[in-house]
Amino acid sequence: MRSDQAGITDLLAEWREGDRRAENELAEHLYPVLRGLVGVQLRRAPSGLTLSATELVNEAYIRLEQQREVEWRNRGHFFAIAATVVRRVVIDYLRERSAEKRGAGAIGLRWEDVPSGEQPAVGDQIDWLALDQALTRLQELDAESARVVELRLFGGLSNESIAEVMSSSVATVGRQWRFARTWLAEQMDLSLDGS
């Protein structure tokens, strides 16, 4: 087993060179950090009221940087890896919650981040569990489009950054996103109506 400090830096380098295995290992390192952060947030807000992907990833970034003195030369890369982990953390959390609250259905986990100058809006809920399921189906059918969605939604990356991270073009990413969002919405709606 590698020591954490050397491990993460090396892994990051390997991953940048296209080694998917390194990405998975990195994600394993990230998971407990993010999970811990979610835990802190939840202890502060027992209702599970507020959780922001951007905030979460930012804090993880700072924490890793601080604790392990890893220099992430490219924030985009970090966010890309973090995206998958954020998705897992959130979905795990939601599953546990809904297991606790028997029959509570879709539990509102509010993703909110306050753009400066605007009051935070607390409210509408998105059925993240349904989205996760639909996204998993999409992964099987069209892994690349699914990854685009993951990076946008859970990593907060722009199309430009996604194109860079995925070694693709902005136009392709744009097409993939346009299709995926439409297809996912259709899938989610169907399951809603069907229930």
Binding site: P120, V122, I126, E186, D189
Partner: protein
């Protein structure tokens, strides 16, 4: 789905996208090679795409934003008419859908309506239910203060709609601003909102989202409550509403709404409180802008809103003028009285301790408008009295006994009416004993009116005001007494109407000339103490015309000049006052005159003269009252400062070492006087560079301030800071100074505000000590705490420069982006960059 079919679909979708939007459906039909299932599926996707009905763009964050605010979709079809209304332009958007202006022509009668149509993409069960609930609730309500339901039904494609009375006018806050309404007028207008809410409650409807934008005022000044979009029927089964969906505006939401606890009418009472708060002082109870989620939670769940007068004072000059016009001071004063009690009562964290209903709140507003005692203020009175006495009166056993009897006497005064003369005498006596108790607990007036003393006095003057008609003589005398005690305590920022009313009565009543004179003098002194210089000047001129050589007028005039920092003007008046005041050596006014004269002489600066003034006072005083009398000790304490001015440091130290323990044994440890004595000693030791020895007195000072004025008083914070600074100076490697720094920052953040320059200054010194010990990570949190942007502009260039220097020490040099990109204030780096880069001139740059 079959992967093969998916690939086909995916390719066709992309292909269709190449076609112009309006030609896409046509294009599908032209593809004869496709099977029916694929065509159907593709059609659905394209429809969704065209209707902007896909997963919204962007982050999860903006997903939410988009869910709340419908993206502008110009091609979304708007039905030409719904129900009996012809739709005109769009007039608003909400989380649930768009609102259009609708017009109905019916037999020559033209009616306008706000027609709200549910967003098509929200035609899912939950949103639909909510919409239908609103419709049903609105049908239950019929009140002039609530926008009426005119019609409801479904549009041609089955989307539900409601048509509401269209209110043309301004939002509540804009309306008040446009009409320049004063505090009283605002309260009167606000009662209409309360009435509307009360009606809804009686119809078993809780609004749950009362906020400024949901209250409109029409041209005739009639208030209308809008948007019952998230209203709930009050269910018998409370648990059912407990975990219901949340969809509200946090700035006006009570704690129970945030944590998903059961919602009752108390929820609306809270929001009414929040609305009134903003209406009166120009800010919502909590500023949530730029705050992080955790911080917002803490504010709403734990932190009590700061007093309205304070919030009002913290507005920009221009905002304050906009709100209050030229009457900034009276406005502020009105906020600090019983209105504050009413608002705070409505804003309590626990639903049970708020007003039980909107009506109960209204009753208190009426009480306030009619100058009757409000109930909110009365509720905690005895509790506060007890608390005050407990905190202040434990100096010696003797004081405890006195305090207990005061407690009883005062409670009686408060509870019973003061009908008979016997009772008046009792009241007068109780007040003067009580006054003495207050004043001896804090003769420095440093606390600016300890909050509990202030409340008790407020309560007293309220009680007294009940007798203004029946027993004006009792009223006037007691009003004078209360004002006198207030002045002695340094409580000067209070409502003047009591004194003015008493003065008015005494002024026209034969035989009451003395009382009238005392009252006008009191009022003038109060204005001086309040630093209301133009008014004070006018009041003093009137007094001087009446009795030019009166020693008390001379004293007041002298204090006026001292307060204005004009020692040369002050000294002649004070010298005459000293000479003219009665010869009784222990007369408090005469002692005060000496103290003031010495203060003016120090200001001049002429410390030698100040010294001789204090010495001559002591020479007369000590043989009469004894060496351990409070006045002697306090005079000697003043002389310590003069000795320091004279650079006679060793004498100052030995004097302070003698006096401080005696003051502590006289006043007790929990007294701000003892605290002042100890900090004077510490200061003298620091001047002598005996830093190590200064720690002990600094520690005692901090402790006494904390126990007498509370942890969150500026004086307490300063003394913690001094202690920490000295600890760190004596031994920079010792981390124990951190405690003092932390307490100083926390206390001053509450006493002032977290961005205040004083707090920033504390942060800088703390960070320096941390950096010196190699704790950069902690220093970063200290300099750039979550949710706080230090006010560097207000702190002046020196503090700003040092602050930026510290940021550099923590982060290394930061590069400042040239573009106007908004920094992310949620991160340390973002905040650092904002503060570091956003400087007024290049000259400020740390080199």
């Amino acid at each position: 789905m079959d992967p093969e079919a998916f690939r086909t679909l995916r390719a066709l979708f992309d292909e269709a996208m190449q076609e112009p939007p309006e030609a896409r459906m046509q294009w599908i039909s032209s593809r004869a090679d496709l099977d029916a299932a694929t065509v159907a599926e593709l059609r659905r996707l394209l429809l969704r795409e065209a209707g902007n009905d896909a997963l919204p763009e962007g982050l999860p964050v903006s997903l939410l934003a988009a869910a709340l605010k419908v993206e502008a979709s110009p091609d979304a079809p708007i039905p030409a008419c719904v129900g009996r209304f012809v739709l005109a332009e769009e007039i608003g958007r909400g989380g649930m859908g768009c609102v259009y202006r609708g017009v109905r022509e019916d037999g020559g009668v033209r009616q306008e309506a706000a027609v709200k149509i549910l967003r098509t993409d929200l035609r899912q069960r939950r949103a639909l239910e909510r919409f239908l609930v609103e419709r049903e609730l609105l049908a239950r309500l019929d009140h002039p203060g609530i926008a009426r339901l005119l019609d409801s039904g479904e549009t041609g494609d089955g989307t539900p709609f409601v048509a509401m009375e269209l209110v043309r006018g301004l939002g509540l806050i804009e309306y008040c601003a446009s009409r320049h309404l004063g505090v009283v007028e605002r309260v009167i207008l606000f009662r209409q909102v309360v009435a509307a809410v009360s009606h809804a409650h009686k119809a078993l409807v809780v609004h749950r989202d009362i906020k400024p934008s949901n209250v409109m005022v029409d041209g005739e000044g009639r208030v209308r409550l809008l948007d019952f979009g998230i209203a709930k029927p009050l269910a018998n089964d409370v648990a059912a509403t407990a975990t219901a969906d949340r969809f509200f505006t946090p700035a006006y939401a009570p704690p129970e709404q945030l944590i998903g606890a059961p919602i009752t009418v108390a929820c609306d009472v809270y929001s009414l409180g929040a609305l009134l708060y903003e209406l009166l002082c120009g800010r919502p109870p909590f500023e949530l802008k730029d705050k992080r989620a955790a911080e917002i939670e803490r504010l709403i769940l734990v932190t009590p809103p700061r007093p309205m007068a304070q919030a009002f004072s913290s507005l920009d000059e221009s905002r304050r003028l906009e709100l209050a016009g030229r009457d900034v001071r009276p406005w502020r004063r009105q906020l600090s009285g019983e209105l504050e009690s009413i608002v705070q009562r409505a804003l309590r964290k626990e639903p049970d301790s708020r007003y039980a209903s909107a009506d109960a709140m209204d009753e208190d507003l009426v009480n306030w408008l009619e100058h009757r005692p409000v109930r909110a203020a009365g509720a905690g009175r005895l509790y506060r009295l007890r608390k005050f006495l407990r905190r202040n009166a434990i100096a010696t056993a003797a004081v405890v006994i006195v305090a207990a009897s005061i407690g009883v006497a005062f409670a009686l005064v408060l509870r019973e009416t003061i009908a008979a003369n016997r009772e008046r005498d009792r009241a007068r006596e109780a007040l003067s004993v009580l006054g003495e108790a207050f004043v001896s607990a804090d003769p420095t007036g440093l606390s600016g009116g300890d909050i509990s003393a202030r409340n008790i006095l407020d309560a007293a003057s309220r009680r007294i005001s009940e007798h203004v008609d029946g027993k004006p003589d009792v009223y006037a005398e007691l009003a004078e007494k209360v004002a006198d005690v207030q002045l002695a305590l340094g409580v000067v920022d209070v409502d003047d109407t009591g004194v003015m009313r008493a003065l008015e009565w005494a002024g026209r009543e034969a035989g009451q000339e003395n009382l009238a004179w005392r009252l006008s003098l009191l009022q003038a002194r109060r204005l001086v103490a309040r630093h209301a210089f133009p008014d004070a000047e006018a009041a003093l001129l009137r007094l001087e015309r009446q009795k030019p050589g009166d020693p008390l007028v001379l004293l007041a005039r002298g204090k006026f000049w001292v307060a204005r920092g004009e020692p040369a003007e002050a000294i002649p008046f004070l010298t005459r006052a000293v000479a003219a005041l009665p010869r009784e050596t222990d007369d408090i006014e005469r002692i005060d005159a000496h103290w003031q004269l010495a203060e003016a002489q120090r200001q001049k600066p002429d410390p030698a003269a100040a010294m001789s003034t204090l010495q001559s006072l002591l020479g007369g005083l000590e043989p009469v009252v004894g060496a351990n009398h409070a006045t002697v000790l306090l005079t000697r304490l003043r002389s310590v400062n003069v000795l320091l001015d004279l650079k006679r440091v060793d004498e100052a130290i030995s004097e302070a070492q003698t006096v401080s323990p005696r003051i502590e044994s006289l006043y007790g440890r929990t007294s701000s006087v003892s605290a002042q004595a100890w900090s004077t000693l510490a200061l003298a030791l620091v001047r002598a560079q005996r830093y190590g020895e200064s720690l002990e007195p600094y520690r005692k000072a901090a402790q006494s301030f904390a126990e007498s004025l509370g942890e969150n008083h500026v004086a307490t914070a300063r003394s913690y800071f001094n202690l920490a600074l000295m600890q760190n100076y004596v031994d920079p490697s010792d981390p124990s100074s951190a405690e003092g720094f932390r307490k100083a920052i926390a206390g001053a953040s509450i006493a002032r505000n977290p961005a205040d320059p004083l707090v920033t200054f504390f942060r800088i010194e703390y960070a320096k000590s941390l950096i010196a010990r190699g704790e950069k990570g902690v220093a970063r949190e200290v300099l750039l705490p979550e949710g706080v942007m230090p006010d560097l502009a207000g702190a002046g260039p020196d503090i700003a420069r040092v602050f930026r220097g510290q940021i550099e020490a923590v982060f290394g040099s930061l590069d400042c982006p040239k573009s106007g990109r908004e920094p992310d204030l949620g991160t340390f780096e973002g905040r650092a960059r904002e503060l570091y880069c956003n400087r007024p001139t290049v000259d400020d740059a740390p080199t």
